[in-house]
Point group: C2
Chain length 260, copies 2
């Protein structure tokens, strides 16, 4: 498919099987992209956006709620938000700070820095109907880097990999795709010192490029995320691929959070 200049294309990568614990994601991707029906082989500059869920699954980040013993604090929080005390215990284990508790609401700062409902623990689309939940990857930036390296080793092309999740936002309703893991792309681009067309300093000094890509990719990943868990993005400007920065740089620390 030809892509015009100044165009971005987000395209589902079809043909991935259901991902299971221990699966080699790079190998599954290779198979999906090698199929005759695949739209085009991977090329330098392509950006693959993966649903967090398949990365977590491949890394076996499942936890059976049966195995979780809630501490006193979890029982107390669970009573306040009306959630399963075992889930709340996992939220405490995954987080550095509880940000907000209310009926049906438990917002935490994940140990990776992300502020998100239930510490981003996923209870949906877990197979078998059992009481397992799915935690975030241990180090999503590293997970992304491993895939970049594996694709390079296998295909000889230099791509970027983003891992996307969907978070709610303060002040705005609805969830939006965000980037929780990034390799090969400049997750946050710093424009400080650059001038606008009238020679004034730009007011906007940092661009959350990885989040902007994951936001639109989430629409192609779809709500259920599993049928189409990988999206290929083409047309990302080369300048965003030259100085990779991991997704962890997108985290605004509590100390510098001017919005709270």
């Amino acid at each position: 498919m030809s892509v015009p200049s100044h165009a971005l294309t987000f395209e589902a990568v079809d043909g991935l099987p259901e991902v299971r614990a221990g699966d080699d994601l790079a190998a599954l991707l290779a198979e999906a992209l090698d199929r005759p029906a695949a739209p085009a082989p991977l090329a330098d500059g392509d950006v693959l956006v993966l649903a967090q869920k398949i990365v977590s699954k491949s890394e076996n980040r499942f936890v059976s709620l049966d195995t979780v013993e809630p501490r006193a604090e979890a029982l107390s929080l669970a009573a306040r938000c009306g959630k399963d005390p075992r889930l709340v215990e996992l939220v405490l284990r995954e987080s550095s700070e509880i940000v907000r508790v209310a009926p049906n609401v438990l917002i935490a700062r994940h140990r990776l820095g992300f502020v998100v409902a239930n510490a981003a623990i996923d209870q949906s689309n877990v197979p078998d109907g059992d009481e397992r939940v799915l935690l975030l990857p241990v180090d999503p930036d590293l997970s992304a880097q491993r895939l970049v390296d594996a694709v390079h080793a296998r295909f000889g092309v230099k791509i970027a990999v983003l891992i996307a999740d969907s978070f709610g936002r303060p002040w705005r309703l609805g969830v939006c795709g965000v980037c929780i893991g990034c390799a090969g792309l400049e997750a946050l681009v710093d424009l400080r010192g650059q001038l606008d067309r009238q020679g004034r300093s730009l007011q906007v000094t940092q661009l959350a490029i990885a989040d902007q890509l994951c936001a639109a990719a989430s629409m192609v990943l779809g709500e259920a995320a599993e049928g189409r868990p990988v999206v290929r993005v083409r047309g990302v400007p080369q300048r965003y691929l030259q100085n990779p920065r991991a997704a962890r740089v997108l985290v605004r620390s509590s100390a510098e959070d001017l919005f709270r």
Copy 2:
């Protein structure tokens, strides 16, 4: 250009002249899209994303700082944030609430409900080097609807129009494109009651579709926004176009803001 299924394409609409106060945006768009070099005529289901700046300019939302007399509260706030007291006065006029003041920081809830630095008043890329600033459109949802209607009258096609700005976010660094005006598309999609593939209720119940589209569109609009102020999006699923909801539904009121 053929677009595969499950693909979204964001493509700059080239050929727009610099937009000036009083310009008929629909006519300018028509001219740009009628050029022989234009990639393809507008079609039903196309989504046009416009930079806020050109909509504000066409509606003559310029204010000369010379004409602004700061009230006492503006002088006091300006001393705390180190900003021009006339700009701070405009922020007060545009807002319903000041959310945060710190050196070089002034975050307000715009009267439209958006929580944003400087009430989204734009000081960059205003021509002539004068001391004019640019306010948001008075009613961006209505601005979007007028363009939808004008395009329908002129081309006979049913499109959607989004107006995009870039806002900073709590907890995450960098700005990200967001939707401040929407017509012809379901800005916020409610999935409550829908089930995942295992038959469980979806955890994520509302999708900020318009924000997700504006996020990626912002990358094509570019940082300076003026050279390429319009992006055409193709491939938006038909189900998001059937029940239009304006961008104002994306606003989370202070009372229901569970994140604060």
